[in-house]
């Protein structure tokens, strides 16, 4: 954490090339070494394999090497940074963004198991690993809110209850939709169309756009200021996990469309609903204390969506392209 470049520098620089050594550092870092990994490199790494996506067994083998123990993190310095070094506007801005992730992680944890029922055998390995990842990420936020922010509660749900006031009213858009789509998959686990609609919301939008954007904003702030080392470590490790999820998810969507080109309609219809909802915000989130402007966050979200669609080969009809440009910078993730 010696580098102190501006949080939004890379946003304006555009995509960067990763050297083989950087890729090895990201892939091989043990948890305690993750503090030295640059979040911008990890976000670049998510997209590295997007054009020729790895198969599920490869993703599963990476998982076995990259998983981490959420109880190995020590939040003592984070608590000091949070209480003594961060300003109240920084804390409020941070909570307004992070709370969507706290709830988002729990939602993607609980909504994923049904998707495993109708998956192929090798895909099941990848999804089983992802379910465990998401549960671990849920515990990560539970610990952060408990030990750093100082929320009190006897169990996971109590801490979720306590952080919910920071969650925007529009959170129900993508996450309510995911809940209902998961129930549709539960009722018809082998309905490929329902699975593609679910996958569009889960893998493309929530993980590929919302989550990576929250990660980028809060982690580049932490890196810029040199604050919250355990948060930086755990959430950057989470971002590395996310790279497997996004790649697996994009592979699923790509395969589904290649097998049946009419599946693109399910992706478009789902994006039509999601983008309509994403055009509305119920609260103004002040990003400036974290080193961002609303326009920069919006630009970040465009970049995230555009790169995935482009790399996976999904084109948007004009009406959807127009909707993309009015997306509001409301962040949540999972």
């Amino acid at each position: 954490m010696t580098e102190r470049k501006s949080p939004t520098a890379v946003l304006h620089e555009g995509p960067r090339a990763l050297s083989d050594q950087q890729v090895r550092q990201i892939e091989g870092a043990a948890l305690k070494e993750v503090l030295d990994v640059d979040i911008d490199d990890v976000i670049e790494y998510v997209h590295k394999d997007m054009r020729s996506l790895p198969d599920y067994t490869t993703l599963y083998r990476k998982y076995l090497k990259q998983r981490w123990d959420v109880y190995d993190l020590d939040f003592a310095q984070d608590k000091i940074d949070w209480t003594e070094k961060m300003t109240e506007p920084e804390r409020q801005s941070f909570l307004a963004i992070a709370s969507g992730f706290h709830h988002g992680e729990r939602q993607v944890e609980i909504e994923l198991p049904v998707f495993m029922i109708g998956a192929g055998e090798e895909e099941k390995l990848h999804i089983s690993a992802q379910i465990e990842d998401e549960a671990r990420h849920t515990v990560f936020f539970d610990r952060f809110y408990r030990e750093v922010v100082g929320l009190q509660g006897g169990d996971i749900m109590a801490i979720l209850d306590a952080s919910f006031p920071w969650v925007s009213e529009t959170f129900v858009g993508p996450f309510g939709l995911l809940a209902y789509q998961a129930d549709e998959v539960r009722r018809n686990p082998y309905d490929e169309r329902a699975r593609v609609r679910y996958g569009t919301t889960y893998f493309l939008w929530i993980e590929g756009v919302l989550a990576l954007s929250v990660m980028k904003v809060t982690l580049s702030y932490a890196r810029w200021r040199g604050f919250l080392p355990a948060y930086y470590t755990g959430f950057t490790a989470t971002c590395r996990d996310e790279s497997r999820h996004v790649q697996g998810g994009m592979k699923y969507l790509q395969d589904a469309v290649r097998k049946d080109p009419t599946m693109i309609r399910e992706i478009h219809e789902t994006l039509r609903t999601i983008l309509m909802l994403a055009g509305v915000a119920s609260r103004e989130v002040i990003y400036e204390p974290l080193g961002w402007t609303q326009d920069e966050v919006r630009m970040l979200m465009f970049q995230q969506l555009g790169r995935k669609l482009n790399d996976v080969g999904i084109t948007l009809p004009p009406d959807l392209q127009a909707m993309v440009s009015s997306v509001q910078p409301v962040l949540a993730g999972g």
């Binding site: 858009g173 996450f175 939709l177 209902y180």
Partner: protein, 153 residues
């Protein structure tokens, strides 16, 4: 004046008035104008109907049928017990969750935790109006309702 019983005709009439009026000013103040503009736009163009079911009433499942049109509620009544309600979106919820909503449980989480669920209807279309729907759930939850007669249930 005592509260109308939950799922009684008097309660349905009160729900109709409350939904037509929409969220009161104090509730609107906490959220961005952009959000309410969206709400108003959806409400003005909404021509669908909801059958909001209660699955486990003592006398059997019943629904609160709500028809929207011209920016207001054109029909609002309790249907059943018995028979399948015809509506654009048929939704189901348990009695205990209805009561929790009236006791102040969050409408977003009521949706997100599947306490209320679309049982029939196109989910993607339904979600285009989800902010409108959750705000309406909040309004319905604030309409006084007596749960006494069913307390023994």
């Amino acid at each position: 004046m005592s509260e109308p019983e939950f799922f009684s005709p008097a309660w349905a009439a009160a729900v109709r008035d409350a939904l037509s009026a929409g969220p009161p000013e104090p509730d609107r103040a906490g959220k961005l104008q952009m959000y309410w503009d969206f709400f108003d736009r959806v409400k003005a163009g909404y021509a669908s109907s909801w059958a909001l079911g209660c699955r486990d009433l003592p006398a059997g499942p019943a629904s609160l049928f709500i028809q929207w049109g011209g920016g207001t509620v054109t029909d609002c009544r309790v249907t059943g017990p018995g028979g399948t309600p015809e509506a654009t979106y048929v939704l189901g919820m348990d009695y205990a969750d209805w009561q929790a909503l009236h006791d102040g449980y969050d409408p977003q989480r009521t949706v997100m935790y599947r306490k209320i669920l679309v049982e029939e209807g196109n989910i993607l279309e339904f979600f285009k109006g989800i902010y409108f729907f959750t705000e309406c759930l909040a309004v319905i939850g604030k309409v006084p309702a007596g749960f006494g007669a069913l307390a023994a249930h």
